[in-house]
């Protein structure tokens, strides 16, 4: 397994994305958190969550399973809610790939996990934002398309994140996902997929999957040269099996 990671501040005053990767005999552990800009201390929240996840993983004799991943997310949530001044919050996407190439994950918020295989990109996690609720309501015919459209202006606002002191929504692997040689796992904050879009991410992966370093650089180049008026903090981790 090899990995590459990049971080880019974008047009923001502060980098509020934080991440860490630990590779040891057990496997490869990666965690990425995106501090919420709308709240104070977003960066501190994200850094704290990364530290809590990393320290938990480093403890001796732990088995990484869904219980570990969710319990750690809950600990980070409580810490941010009670231990950091002002209301702050962050997202988390955390993955563990064991020595048998089995992938496990937990996600709270709108940072994403993707798997790239055979030229195709697949989004694994859902975004826990207002759209999540609106889509459900639309499916259940609780709202019509017009109401969906009106409410959709606030669609990207998070409805679940670390720091709520009891987050409501999460994504988790209930069974490990078996990866194949050549698969690429991507953990990313919203900066990347909002600047590039899934189609461009897929294109660049298809073009550069042979060289992870070149691939990571090409992501950043595309984000830098995207024509968006404001570019969000962008951080991502690429792991190749």
């Amino acid at each position: 397994m090899e990995f590459e990671s990049r971080s880019f501040i974008g047009s923001r005053a502060e980098q509020q994305d934080h991440y860490n990767v630990i590779q040891d005999q057990k496997g490869l552990f990666a965690v990425l958190c995106d501090g919420m800009g709308g709240r104070k201390n977003g960066s501190l929240a994200a850094q704290s969550a990364v530290d809590i996840f990393s320290a938990s993983y480093m403890r001796r004799n732990i088995d990484v399973d869904p219980k570990f991943l969710l319990t750690t997310a809950e600990r980070a949530d409580r810490y941010i809610a009670t231990g950091i001044e002002d209301k702050s919050g962050c997202t988390v996407i955390c993955t563990f790939i064991d020595a048998d190439k089995k992938l496990m994950w937990v996600s709270v918020g709108d940072s994403r996990l993707y798997v790239f295989r055979s030229g195709r990109l697949r989004q694994v996690t859902k975004d826990h934002n207002y759209f999540y609720l609106l889509n459900r309501k639309l499916e259940n015919n609780e709202i019509n398309k017009e109401e969906y459209k009106t409410a959709g202006t606030r669609g990207e606002a998070l409805i679940s994140f670390l720091g709520m002191n009891g987050f409501e929504l999460a994504d988790i692997s209930i069974r490990p996902l078996a990866l194949l040689d050549g698969d690429i796992v991507l953990l990313t904050s919203d900066g990347l997929y909002k600047s590039l879009g899934d189609a461009d991410i897929e294109k660049l992966l298809a073009l550069h999957h042979g060289d992870l370093c070149v691939c990571a650089d090409s992501f950043l180049d595309q984000v830098r040269t995207s024509n968006m008026s404001s570019i969000d903090n962008t951080s991502f981790i690429l792991i190749k099996i």
Binding site: D65, P66, K67, L70, L103, V115, R117, S118, G119, R120, R122, V124, T125, K126, F167, E168, L169, A170, D171, I172, S173, I174, R175, P176, L177, A178, L180, D181, G182, D183, K203, A206, L207
Partner: protein, 215 residues
């Protein structure tokens, strides 16, 4: 750089300023040409799959197949939603071949008479499998039960309660001879009738026992 999608194989991309035609396809052609003719003619090669060796009976592996299987794998592995719900799913599901039993249904008449069905934590779908439907408690011998889910038994470990819920099936479901319209809490020796089959409910987890007490 001019990114172009390969016309031959829709999944390839290449830099049109560097290559006249798709270099990935070229590589695959070269690879194929080096293979024994017999295999090269009937095996479609996926981008990352190893070439099949000498086993010509192997199923054809196409790009589309491997892709679909990944989507299915992801769907099978992931849970998204309310934290308490996914906890129930994850903690009991993960790495366990045999899920701990929380209760049983025993058929007391018709074709399944004498048969017991184990219930697990969370939702247990009751109905008849087939035609693309998979259910947990499969009344496969009772043709008066429509295919698909007809009712759901939920074991909720926090309050250690069992609930019987109607599903969108077209077969009527009765609880102690009353038509089930919504959901109802069920107790030991309650009778559930679906089609011609009558089932008796026997709880294992209760005030007296819980798997969580054993941890």
């Amino acid at each position: 750089m001019k990114l172009v999608r390969c016309e031959v194989n829709g999944s390839h991309y290449y830099d049109a300023e560097k290559y006249e035609s798709c270099p990935h396809c070229q590589k695959e052609r070269e690879k194929k040409n080096n293979m024994p003719q017999k295999i090269a003619s009937d095996v479609t090669i996926s981008l990352f799959d190893d070439m099949p060796s000498d086993n010509t009976d192997k199923e054809t592996v196409s790009l589309e197949d491997s892709d679909n299987s990944l989507s299915k794998q992801i769907a099978d592995s992931s849970a998204s939603g309310n934290v308490e719900e996914i906890k129930t799913m994850a903690y009991y599901d993960f790495g366990q071949e045999q899920e701990p039993v929380v209760g049983w249904l025993v058929a007391i008449n018709s074709a399944a008479k004498g048969k017991s069905f184990s219930l697990k934590v969370g939702k247990n779908n009751i109905g008849r499998s087939g035609a693309g439907n998979i259910v947990d408690v499969d009344l496969d011998k009772d043709v008066t039960v429509s295919r698909g889910v007809q009712a759901v038994i939920i074991y909720e470990p926090k309050k250690r309660q069992f609930l019987l819920q109607s599903a969108n099936g077209s077969t009527l479901v009765y609880h102690n001879d009353d038509l089930l319209m919504n959901y109802i809490q069920i107790n030991a020796y309650d009778r559930i009738t679906i089609g011609e089959t009558e089932l008796v409910f026997i709880p294992f987890c209760s005030d007296k026992f819980s798997w969580e007490d054993q941890k």
